[in-house]
Symmetry: C2
Subunit: 370 residues, 2 copies
Amino acid sequence: MDRSKKSSQRRRANVNIHDVARRARVSIATVSRVVNRIPSVDPELAKRVWKAVDDVGYVPNTQARALVSGRSRILGLIVSEITNPFFPELVQEFENLAVAQGYEVMIGSTNYNTERTESLIRRMLQRSVDGVAVMTFGIEEELVHTLVDHGFPLVFVDAGPELPNVRVLKVNYGDGIREAVQHLAALGHRQIAFISGPLQMRTAAIRRDAFRNAMAELGLTVPATSMVEGKHTMESGKAAMEQLMKTPAPPTAVVCSNDMTAIGVLHALDETTHQVPKDISVVGFDDIHLAQFMLPPLTTVQMSCRDLATAAVEALRAGIESDHPKFVQREWPIQTRLVVRRSTDFPRGSLPAQSKVAAKGAARPATSAK
Amino acid sequence: MDRSKKSSQRRRANVNIHDVARRARVSIATVSRVVNRIPSVDPELAKRVWKAVDDVGYVPNTQARALVSGRSRILGLIVSEITNPFFPELVQEFENLAVAQGYEVMIGSTNYNTERTESLIRRMLQRSVDGVAVMTFGIEEELVHTLVDHGFPLVFVDAGPELPNVRVLKVNYGDGIREAVQHLAALGHRQIAFISGPLQMRTAAIRRDAFRNAMAELGLTVPATSMVEGKHTMESGKAAMEQLMKTPAPPTAVVCSNDMTAIGVLHALDETTHQVPKDISVVGFDDIHLAQFMLPPLTTVQMSCRDLATAAVEALRAGIESDHPKFVQREWPIQTRLVVRRSTDFPRGSLPAQSKVAAKGAARPATSAK
DNA sequence: TAGAAACTGGTAAGCGTTTCCCGACTCTTC
DNA sequence: GAAGAGTCGGGAAACGCTTACCAGTTTCTA
């Protein structure tokens, strides 16, 4: 009863700019100008056009728009794996910001798979995205090359090629990790171990170095057996912790390169008689949503998704919309900070009970657990 | 050195079909036919064209294609909240399947927010998606209306309007929940409580009814105090469990309407002296990834993301590509089944130790914990 | 009051495809 | 050897929009 209107074949275009023009008794050029808010149109006329738009229910066709303007108003977002809880949060923020700026976002996960990644890039090319944010936290060389060749604005995390259209989100791992180490040291820990991510992943190496430096600053040494390489997964975290417990002088605290690793550590300890935090303190990194849901809720270094997303979208927009893309800053700083929850405490028997409260207060910075 | 080629203004189109045509010394029509694998082209000629395509690095422009063909080859996917761990898994599967069929997917989350949802639908309309899967597990009436009016293929979960272009994924909650109840009953539980989702959410009501029926089948009664309404969140699960423990005869087992609720229950119990599963057994629903990472790993009713995604994509494709969309089946069944992990066990002291093993074997169906 | 400047709004040329229609060519067949 | 059937491939018309260019009006200045 309603769809008989225009069913020449299968669904064809809805109403178009001509319908609006006819109804408002103006040319299509004027409609276009009104819709795009080009100020040279008489306000009265504009009002008439808007009314017509409303009356006929006109929605501009993005494909046509993109075709003629050369910009798709789509931003690509490449992450490692969408099922890793860190990323949905990032995606969400990114999407909100992009949409607020009139962009759509095309999401893809590499799953650490070259073939998949290549197809992903090809897809983005085909849809002619206006720019791509690569938030994989690991440089995958080929990916970089393919993308760079095509000349559209690019954003990487931590490091990226020295090219005019590339911006880099510089995460300040040092601050957060130093806070974590100092927090543990203030609680009385001296034997602090570190479970890193896969070291060929650049971000993993950077985090590890940040840990080493923070320890050195406090004059604490880290025996080789206290540095274990994991894979940023729960399983690897569990395995790493089991290995740490076998060493002659097991640590009283463990700092992990990401939260999933820390969760693995919690699991490993759950299978022993050790309790967290009474026997061993655990610190994660990322502050994924899940961290606060663990038992006990995880003390962790927060890397704000919102900050990351904001910087990424802004850097991309700057590259796309600026008249002088060359002069846009190349590096965008991102802060990290410790969030203290319940997985860290004094090492067993380290302090007399009555001084605990004071020390605790001192050792626990900004306890904003959410 | 390379980009001087064609930089009339800001980045303009790369190579186009004309370039290929020129190089292969054919018309653009032929190139189009070759690229679209229309069989009426002489194989030799086709080979020449493919070579030209390769030589000049031609990538068809999707916008133009979409403009003329009227199909964007984009599938819309609407979920409730991408940060709820259930959804990324669904998104991933959906995307894989869609891409395999040559579609791109446009994801959006409603966040239970009407305004946001409206803008989302407007965006999808603008990008002229070929179809939309609404996987929110809750009917939001306005959403439905807006979508339905536009006539493109639609997929809903559980229930949807009776319209020719609408397909419905019918989840068989009954089977999985019955398995869960029988599992608990077999272990010896009689006082089994249920924490539902928000009951105005259709899926929540269905799950609750499935629980009631399963209990009735076993001749077990459910006192009103053992049915608590939650909100499908961790916080609400925690609150509900606290309420349950205050009742005169607290349950020995709790079935939850989703996993997040169950996780909340775990948290509530963690703050008491009750242990899971020794004192209380807990069963979730969904089998989110996280479920197996809990302490203890959660026994839960699995609703397979892959099944859901597969059905959604297929139903959508059927609506889009079929010559006779009317004859495509309206209902697509989805199974559920129990996955037994470690959060369920005998009620304390219910069975003598020596018979445990046997009972356990009997009571634990298909223990495929991953 | 004439002429220039400032505004408005219309015409039409693409943007890169797909696809209809038709002509050219190759085979058959009588 | 010519006519009819069957292939193949090219020309050109959309698809819906933006925007350069231009023409008509109005307003301002000398």
